[in-house]
Structure formats: structure tokens, C-alpha cells
Amino acid sequence: MPGKLKAKIVAGRHLPVMDRASDLTDAFVEVKFGNTTFKTDVFPKSLNPQWNSEWFKFEVDDEDLQDEPLQITVLDHDTYSANDAIGKVYIDIDPLLSCEAATVISGWLPIYDTIHGIRGEINVLVKVDLFNDLNRFRQSSCGVKFFCTTSIPRCYRVALVHGFVEELVVNEDPEYQWIDRIRTPRASNEARQRLISLMSGELQRKIGLKVLEMGGNAVVGYLQCFDLEGESGLVVRAIGTACTLDKLSPGTAPNTTTHTNTHTLPNTAPTSNACNSPSKDSKEPVFSEDPPHSLSGPPTPLRTLPSSSPPPFSPSKPCSRQSSSSDTDLSLTPRIGMGSGGSVGKEAGPLKTLLRQHTQSALEQREFPIFTLTCFPPGFLVHVGGVVSTRSVKLLDRIHNPDEPETRDAWWEEIRQEIKSHAKALGCHAVVGYSESTSICEEVCILSASGTAAMLNPRFMREGCLDTGGSDHRLSRQPHPGMVGSERGEGEVSSTWLGFEDASPPSCGFVHIPYDEFNMPFPAQLTYCYHCRRQKVPDVLFTTIDLPAEAEVTGKGCLIQARLCRTKKKAQGEVNATSISNLLPFMEYELHTQLMNKLKLRSMNALFGLRIQISVGENMLLGLASATGVYLSALPAPGGIQIAGKTPSDLSYDQHISTMQKRIDDTIAKNKELYNIHPPECIEEVVGSPIPDRQRSSRLFRSTSESSDELSELDLSHGKKDAFVLEIDDTDAVEDIQSLLTDAPIPAGFYSCNTEVMPGIHNWTSGLQMFTSVRVYRLSNANLTNQGLNKIFTDLCENLLKSLYFKLRSMIPCCLCHLNFTVAVPEEELIQVAVTAVAMSFDKETQQAADKALTRGSGENEEQLQFSMEMCGESTISNNQPTAKPSGVPESAMVHSSRVSSSERCSPLPEGRSRSLRSTRSLPCGAPVTVVKMTPLSFLPGTRIVKYLGIINMFFIRETTSLREEGGVSGFLHSFIAEVFAMVRAHVAALGGNALVSYSMKECVFMENPNKNQAQCLINVSGDAVIFIRESDQEAIPPLLTSRQTSSTGADGTT
């Protein structure tokens, strides 16, 4: 019995009137944890009761602490009839279980009712006393930190990245149980909310166990999702990346200033192509018939390989392949001691009982690490191969035994295997920026996974627990990192790594191809890197990750979207699944073509943060691909777009073509201006690539044939008799061009991207506005063609964007970052689009180099800081030259000094207090409400995150039976989203935080029945609660640093 949970109910305010006669309420509170319930006294006749209760104490298992939420119910006492519930508050105790997170939950929390929404607030105090020391807790997984952030959290440094963790739990959905027929909607909603809260807790605990077993202490990039499978059940699943994180104590920070250069080292790619994988499995892509199908890649890197013939690979082989590069690294990283030291007190024994038997797959699993991270410490990412993705169509059946969710497990296992094999085909040993999603319609479910194939620097992944031996690994499901064997084998090797420094400079290493140029997995045009001129690079690069900090970008980036609608016949079961399965490859292909064309239209050559969502409805499929396009200086300039006509017989037709061509050329020129893309004119070198890279233009082509034709541009220019030309439909092609050109230009002063930050913008101000916008369109005409649907869908997205720009016009100049679109087909003929993003304003004035470095720090260099810290510890490294490569390197060096020195001055007070002379007057009720910032990004510009307080993961259901009275569907959803935001803010504030970073709304399921005047909505949100402090703009004097830092940490502790 390792923990005592204590709760105190202080007061309530703004309670609803429950007694019509007196216009007052006789409120009391029930506090429940597990099966224990306490009650406060009734505070009669008040809307602002002061209970000031004693401390209610619950003595509980740590397992329960992790799984169960504290449930607070506010009721109205009624002498004669049953007490009426006013509403509930669920409090997740988890943040209190880690010594590094929050210590107390204290503050005003909204009282929530699933029918009435927020009904007043309650002030509570919650604490946890842990009796034993942390080591014993490892039997449960208390103390494992969770982060939604998909990069290494600021104020931590990564000692080791252990690898992929996943878990899923299933249960029956209370909404579909027989009892639901006789209970009230409120009871049903509450049962669901409570169940999901329990399941999330359980899931988190189980993942925590896996992390502990791997020797880690944290999960980064934690992504939890719900699958509401209806009749067949409720699945809660999560993936993440297990890491060993060390807290950066602010006191050590100043050290970095003395070691500013050291971090330049690891940016380098260790190796030449010589040691890259000669992937033997580059087959001609064929469409697979199987439901777990994948599609063959359209031109270039977005690439999935047929699952029908997964390349047979031996687990050990890739390791040895990699060894030549990894072993050299090893010599540079004398952190073995630290690594194993990080997992002190690891006890593998008791874990066995808690593990499921997956020993046979363990070997395979560890071979290819999968990472949910999208942002990495410099040097982590060696090469990037391209996007790998897999989709699989499944038929849902009832989950018979919730304790054995093997079917769902097997499905995902299959998908991940496939992802791994795709990565391998690209010559990569890892997948980064990995995510999974589902789309469910009736009994059909599309499972999707995507990531970016990459080569990683194994230094970060070395088993932290080499000493704990193999038995441990065999037990674990994802013991992980593949490099163990090879590293062990080759041990201490030379320091030749330094010699590679010049071979691949830091800023371009990641774009160099990981695959063998003579045996490429797919045809691509290779050139020598425009930056270092030594290594080969592809002409276009697609990735799901964020733009690496060290990448050199010309001009600015922009959001690029491809949208697609496909009708399908209504069908049932197997037939339905097959027809969807058959449609998917074509959709992906078309989306890819669109992306490619739009990218070229903007004169860009790389996509980051690519996310392709395919949603299934009863009679249509929606596809939406979003990414941020940039011009990577290291890649060749993209060619223009050339239109090829069918048969040049008709003069007017020719003319039409040429006007089109002119419009396209004009647009490209305009875009170059807009995004400030003026790459230096390079002298083209013909390199020894098997494919001539002189081809400066790619054709706008439309083809439903296999994409292996991507090189047929050459053929095209010769004669138009090539296979895919036959299928060019003139009107279709025209449509395509039209749609290409109809993307409305972004209004002046706005930029947009779906990555963490906009490449090319650095001087952010603190102006910040996170928002969610939801739209539902009803298609009035049932017999729409694909073209018609496409147009509607495109207009919908474009108009939504336009509305956002208009709405946020007061923030100009500003950039919409992390624009995240989610599409769904909630019902036949309905299309739902939800967008969450953050608008951040920036200073317009011309940026100076120093400026750039300084502000950039707030965005991206935290990793660099951490990294250099790490290097400080290893004083073995001699450093060379920051001068050779002026890109990135001195920049980040400067950043260090400025960041560290400037960050300490600010007060941790949330902004917004004492704003005006009248504020005292306007806030008579004591302390003002803490301003809580929310952002989908992992940072807040101009601030420094000093503490992570824990993960916020909340699930709410709201239902109404008086839809009209609540302002219709829009009014209903508007107030519900506002309520969700309010509850998130209140919980962050109660943890002592002033911001929520890495916020995301994972689920927004809206159902309506206007005829019955009813609607229901489910929302799931998550993020990391943090305390940030504002950075002052001025540079502090370095000598003062230490003292100031210590004092500021003291202050932080009390915040």
C-alpha cells in the first residue's frame, strides 16, 4: 500500500440555482476514489458555498493511483427526493506521482455535466504522499514521465533513446451495452467518460512498465488514440518513444557558454554512401490485392512497397551493414558508464509476470527502431530516405475477450512490420516521425501508419543497459535498438569519425541518400549535394518529420495541401472492404501527384510534416495530404511544369495549352517572389548518376497507370505514345491544372505551415493564438461526380483557410503554425473538417544575422543546448572549426550565450495581470484567473519552459436534447469546445502551470439529430502542462548568471 491520496474540498462558486423556490442551492460534495467515497457537509442556501472540508484520505495501491481518476461530484441536497447531481470533476492523479512533475493540484476547476456543460467551479486541493522510495514503485510504473511533445522536452537532455513502445487496451463501449437502453443519457455518458479515463490510466501504466523494463524513465512523443468501434467495442491505444532523460539543472546551464563549439561535431553524418545498404529488394511496384495492401510509389520518395512480398530480411544483417559507421561513433561517445548509470536500480525480475508473451517477435521488433519523434537532437538524424506508409483495410468484429486484444494487436503488428520493411527497402534502418491512425465507418476500419525512413546515429540508441543482459530483452516486446550487436562487437574503434567531418557538412547530411545509388529502391534523379558537392541527393524529398534545425533553407516555406474525394458504392462487409482497398492506391497516387505539382508550382523541393489522411464514409472516401513545402538549399532547384497536349492537331487547343502554360509559369514566378526563393544559380554538374539530372522540368501528368513510369518524362518529350499518355483525359488534365491554379494565394502578411515553425521566420513575438475551427458541409446533390466532389472539398478547405486568415488579421504579420486538418465523413453526404493551429505573430523588420540566431534559439536550439551539455560531460572531444561551415554552426553557438544569459530575468508571473488601471476594479473576486496559453507546438516563442508538470489527457462527452435552444449545432459545438478549453486551462493552472504545449485535439466526433433536437459530441484533447518564464530581450552579463539562475530556480519551485 504505497500511497496516500489526500483531497480537500475548499469552496464552490457560480453554482447553478437548483432550488427554484429560493433561487439557491444546498450543495455538498462527494469525493470518490476507487471504491471509497467521502462526503462533505451540506452548505445550505448558497451559490458560493464554503465547505472548507477536512482532508479526505484514501490509502491506495500505486497501480490504482495510476489507473483511477479522482472523482468529485457536486450535488444538491434534497430532503424529500433524491439528491440532484450538479456536475462532476475528474482529476488525473498521474502528474503527482512523478517527483519531477507537479506536487499539488490546487485551484478552481469547472464542474462539468455532460448534459448542461460547465456549471460553476469548485476549489480543491489534492496531494499524494508516497510512502516508499521510488525504486519500489517500479513494480507499477509511477514516476515514468510522459510527454506529448515529439521532440526532446526542453529542460531535459536525452541520455538514451530506447525505442518504440506501444500498448492497446480494449473494452466494451458502455454506449452499446444492453443497460444503455434503460439508463439516462447522463449516466451513459458518465460511464463512458469514466471508462475511458480508466483505460487511459491503465494504458499509460502499462506503457510505463515497458519503459522501465527497457531501462528508460520517460516516454516522449506519446500519442494516445481512441477507436470508437461501435458495436465491436472501444479501443484505446498508444505509441511513444521510450527515452532516458536527464533533467537539466539550471545551474549547469552556464557551462554551455564555455563549450559552445562542441556541439558542432555530431551534426556530421558519419559516413559515405559506401556503407549504405545495398537494398536488394527493389522490385517493380505492383499493386497488392490484399487488404493490408500498400501502394507502389508515385514518382520519388513517398514510397510504399508491396506488402505481398515483404522482403525477407535477417535480423542481424542490417546491423552488420551498419556497423562500419556505428562503431566509429561509439568511440566518440564515452557515455557507456552514464548510460547504464541512468537506469539505476533496475530490477528486471518482477517484470516478468506483467509481460505478455511475445518472445518470438521480439527479435524482429528490435531490429528496426520506430520513433514517434519528429524533432531530434542534432546529429541524431544521419540520412533521410523518404516517407514510408502503409494502410490496411480491416473488418471489425466484436472483441470477444477484452483481456486478450490479440486481433487488434496483430493488426498493428502487421502494419509496423510492413513499415519497417519499407524503410529497409529505402536502405534505412529506422523510421522516425512515426504515427498511426484509423478511420472507421460502420464495420470497416482503415488502419494507417506513416513515418520517414531514416538512418540514425546509433550513439543515442545504444542500449543503456548492456549490462542487464539478454534475457531481459527477450522478454520485452520492444527491447529495441538494433545496433546492440554490432556495437558490442566492434567496441572501441578509431576516432576516424572526425575525419568525416568535411565529408558531409552538418547542414546537408540528412538529405544525402541512404540507399545505394546503383541499386535504388525506386528510380529517382540524383545529383551531387548542392551544399557539399560530395554526396548524392535526390531531386525531391518528402518527410513526415519537422525541418531539422541544421537544415539550410532558401526563402520561406508554405503549407501545401492535396485534396481528393472519391465516391464509392455503398456496400457491406467483405465487398465494401475490398472496394475501399482497391480505391486506396489510386487515391494515394493522386494525392501524391497533386502534392508534387503544387510543390513545383511553388518552386520548392522538399516536404516536411507530411500527413496523409484518408477517411472513409458510406459512399465516399476523402483524402487530405498536408505538408510544409520548403526549398532545401542542398537539393537541386525544381524544374518548372510543362503541359503536354494530347495531339497537337487543333490550333485553338494548342493555344489553350500555351495560355495555360503561361499562367503556370507566371504563378511559379510569383511564388518565387512570395516565398523569397532566390537560390544562387548553380552551375549544373553532370554527375555519375544513372539518371541524367538535366531534366529541369517535370510534366504535369495524370495517369492511373502504375507509377513506375515516373521516368517516362524523357519518353514523353520524345513521343507521346508512351503507355500512360494513352490515359490522359484532356478534360481531367485541364481540371487538374485548374485546381492547381485555383489555390487562393495567401493574403499578404500571412504565412502558413503544418510543422513546428516556419522555415525562414525567426523573430517571433509573444503574440499567440491557438484555435480550433470545425465545419460541416452537407452535400445537397447525391449524384455528384468525383470532379464535383473534389471541387467542393477543395473549396471547403480553401474557404476555411480564408476564414482563418480573415479572423486572425489583427495579428499580421503572422504565421499559422502546425495547421492540422482532420477530415471525416460523419454521415452520408456530410463532410466534416476540423482545424487546430496556432497563429504566431512575428516582427516584420529585416532580420539581421545575429537577430536570427538569437530568436531562432527559442524555436529550435534547445536540443542543441542539450546536446552541447552532453558533450561538456564528455570532455574527450576535441573540437574543430566552426568556421568552415558558416551555416547553422556559429549561429547556434551564439544562440547559446544569448539564450542562457537572457532567460533568467523574467518573472514567472503569467501575463495579463495588472494590464490596465482599472484591472483592480474589474477583478473584485480576489486573484485573477491565471492566463493559460495553449499551443500545438512544443515551445512558446520568447519564453523558456522551466518545468514540465505532467501530461493532460482529457476526454469529454457533451449531449443535448435542446439543440435549438442552445443555438443550433454551431452554438452547441462552439460552447462545448470553449468548455473543453476552459477545463484544460483550469487543470493546467491547478497543477501550477501557465501553458499547455504540444496540445492536440485528437478526436472530435460530432453527431446530430436535428429532428429530435438532439446532438452529441465527443472530444479528446491532450498536451503537456508546463511552467514557462518569459525571456527578456536583453542580454545579461554572463558573470551574473550563476547567482541569478539559482535564485530563479528557487522562485520556480514556488510558482
Binding site: H14, I118, S773, K807, L923, G926, S970, I977, A978
Partner: protein, 363 residues
């Protein structure tokens, strides 16, 4: 194809203050869109009518959802539902409680009852203010009235504390509450020329000098007396009867006239007329004072002032400066009357009367 649902929710609630004004003015969404288009909103951010309509609807919905909170502004600061920056909260409240003086003039002194509310469509037609806006303003009056009616302490401060209004706006509301409470007659044709500001000024004078709270603070230790600002001080009104001596005592009246005439000779153009009318004017002011013990006569204070004093003067074409001089010397001269013992009451009475008359003396 139709938009079924369209919402935008920001972590910080976005409020366009121009749209807020249109909402407060009671415009429909389509009218508001028209106004915004006329004002050139389409030129911003490459908007189109669709975007503008969506934005306007969204803003209107936001305001509507916040309206509940604006009814008790103190809640706005402590509520958690909408994160609104403090300075925006102040603007929201202030604008919500701002009113059209034309409208306020219409309901001034009327009972803030359901009956009056029903007549609002007439008021709406007459003033050109939308019915929706009229209702909001009327409800605001009524809400403020109800809250402060039962409170003790200074009126303006109470309004400020409970509704977080600016000083000027709180004073205007104090005037409205004061008029509604005492039900002063303001509707007569002869009073039509007076604006809301005229009455608000007079109300301010009455509150400042004629209520218990006004003079009472030093004398009454517990200044939190009930209705101290809303009702005129009974005792004072009774004492006003003593002023009658100024017209009843013939000697005193003559003496008074002589003193005033001496002071004004050669200084005003209407001297002759003044000399002739002095007794009438004096009698009018004194009689007014002595009658104020009756509620009915209190209500008629303004109409009496106009009929008995302002109109005769206007007939004789007095200028404002002349009236100022006359009233100043008329007041001061009484101090020189050896037998007149009610100096304090006299000053308290005449101070207010003088400033009210000066405020009201215009076309």
C-alpha cells in the same frame, strides 16, 4: 451544398470590437455583413462575402454566449469559460452598458416595469434605435436599478463595484436610477427640449447635495445608511419650509430686492425687467422649495423650474450670463439680510437650483 456547422474557438476569445458594436446596435447578421462590406471589410485579407458572413455569425454567437456573463460583470473576471484579456473585458462591459442618450431620455423617470418594456417598440420607432438594442438598454437600466436598489452606501460607488463601469458611465447610471426611483416628471412637452445630459447633470447635483449621503457623511457616523443616495433627505426638505420667510416677510423681501438690484445695476441688460419681476421670480423659487415635502411636487421639480422660472426669463430674453449673475447675487444677498437665519439651508438649496437652472437654460 450548405454549411451545416461552422465554428471557430480561440484559446483567447477573439472579439472584433467593430462587430461588437454592430451586435450591440441590434443588427441582424445579414445587416451587419452589409455594414461591414460598406465599410470596406472585403478589402482586408482578400475576404469574400462568404468569409465575412461566417465571421460575423461566429462573432455574434460569441457575444451572445458572453451576454450571460455581462449581466453580472464581476463574474466575467473570475469565470473560466472564456479567456478574455483584462483590457478587453473592460471594453466589453463598458460598451455593453453604454446607452443611447436619446433612448435614455425617453425612459428617464419612467417606472422600469414590464409595462414600459412593452412600449419599447414605440420608443424604437421614435428614436430609430433597433428594438433589440432598446431592450438591452432597458434591461441594463432595470438590472442596475434592481441591484443597487437594495444596497447601502454611495450610489455611484455601488454601481461601479457591481458593474465595473467607468466613472462617467456609473454617474449616468446613478442618474437613471435616481430618476427611476423618484419618478421625476420628464415627459411633459415643455421638458422635451431637455436632453438626457441636462437631466443627468441635475440628478448629479441632487445626489451630491440633497440626499442623506451628500451632507450626511460627516454627521452620520455610519455612512452606510439605507438609500442614502437614492432618496432626498427628508429633514432637509422639511427645513426648506423655513425659507418661506423670504417671501412672506415683506420687509425681508424688499430688502432682498434692494440688495440684488444694487449689485446688478448696470451689469445686466434686462435690469428693468428684472426689477419688475424680482418678486415673482423670488416667489417662484421659494414656493418651489417649500412644496418639496410632497412627493408629487418633488416629481414636478423640473417642470416647475421650467414653468415658473426658466420660461419667464426666456420670455424676457435673459442671457445665460445674466441669469448666472442674478442667481449668484440673489443667493449671496440673502446672507446680508440680518434677520435671515437659515443660511445653511439656503445655500444647500440655491446651490443646486442655480446649477440646475443654468444647465437647463437653453433652447
Amino acid at each position: 451544398m450548405s454549411m451545416e456547422l461552422d465554428v471557430f474557438v480561440g484559446n483567447t476569445t477573439i472579439m472584433d470590437m467593430e462587430v461588437y458594436q454592430l451586435w450591440l446596435d441590434g443588427l441582424t447578421v445579414s445587416d451587419a455583413v452589409k455594414v461591414r462590406m460598406d465599410e470596406g471589410a472585403l478589402l482586408e485579407c482578400e475576404a469574400n462575402p462568404e468569409v465575412l458572413t461566417s465571421d460575423t455569425m461566429d462573432q455574434f454567437r460569441t457575444f451572445q454566449m458572453c451576454e450571460r456573463l455581462l449581466h453580472s460583470p464581476t463574474k466575467l473576471g473570475s469565470q473560466l469559460l472564456y479567456q478574455i484579456p483584462a483590457q478587453n473585458q473592460i471594453i466589453l462591459i463598458e460598451r455593453y452598458y453604454e446607452f443611447d442618450s436619446v433612448f435614455a431620455r425617453e425612459v428617464l423617470g419612467k417606472k422600469l416595469s414590464k409595462g414600459t418594456k412593452k412600449d419599447l417598440d414605440d420608443t424604437s420607432c421614435k428614436t430609430g434605435i433597433t428594438l433589440k438594442s432598446c431592450r438591452r438598454q432597458f434591461d441594463n437600466f432595470k438590472r442596475v436599478f434592481k441591484v443597487v436598489e437594495e444596497l447601502k452606501g454611495p450610489l455611484v460607488e455601488n454601481i461601479q463595484r457591481h458593474f465595473l463601469l467607468s466613472d462617467t458611465l456609473a454617474r449616468d447610471y446613478a442618474a437613471i436610477v435616481f430618476f427611476a426611483n423618484s419618478r421625476f416628471e420628464t415627459g411633459k412637452r415643455k421638458l422635451q427640449y431637455l436632453s438626457f445630459q441636462d437631466f443627468a447633470f441635475c440628478a448629479g447635483q441632487l445626489i451630491s447635495y440633497w440626499t442623506i449621503g451628500a451632507m450626511g457623511a460627516p454627521t452620520v457616523p455610519d455612512s452606510m445608511m439605507e438609500d442614502m443616495d437614492v432618496d432626498l433627505e427628508k429633514e432637509f426638505l422639511n427645513e426648506l419650509k423655513d425659507l418661506k420667510v423670504l417671501v412672506n416677510d415683506k420687509d425681508m423681501m424688499d430688502q432682498h430686492k434692494i440688495l440684488v438690484c444694487a449689485a446688478l445695476r448696470g451689469k445686466i441688460k434686462v435690469y428693468k425687467l428684472m426689477e419688475v419681476n424680482f418678486k415673482n421670480l423670488s416667489r417662484a423659487l421659494i414656493n418651489l422649495a417649500s412644496k418639496l415635502t410632497h412627493t408629487k411636487d418633488v416629481r414636478d421639480l423640473f417642470i416647475d423650474l421650467v414653468e415658473k422660472f426658466i420660461e419667464p426669463c426666456r420670455y424676457d430674453r435673459w442671457t445665460v450670463a445674466e441669469i448666472t449673475l442674478f442667481l449668484t447675487h440673489y443667493t449671496n444677498a440673502a446672507h446680508c439680510l440680518g434677520t435671515f437665519r437659515h443660511q445653511m439651508i439656503w445655500d444647500r438649496y440655491m446651490g443646486v437650483i442655480k446649477s440646475c437652472i443654468l444647465q437647463m437654460y437653453h433652447e
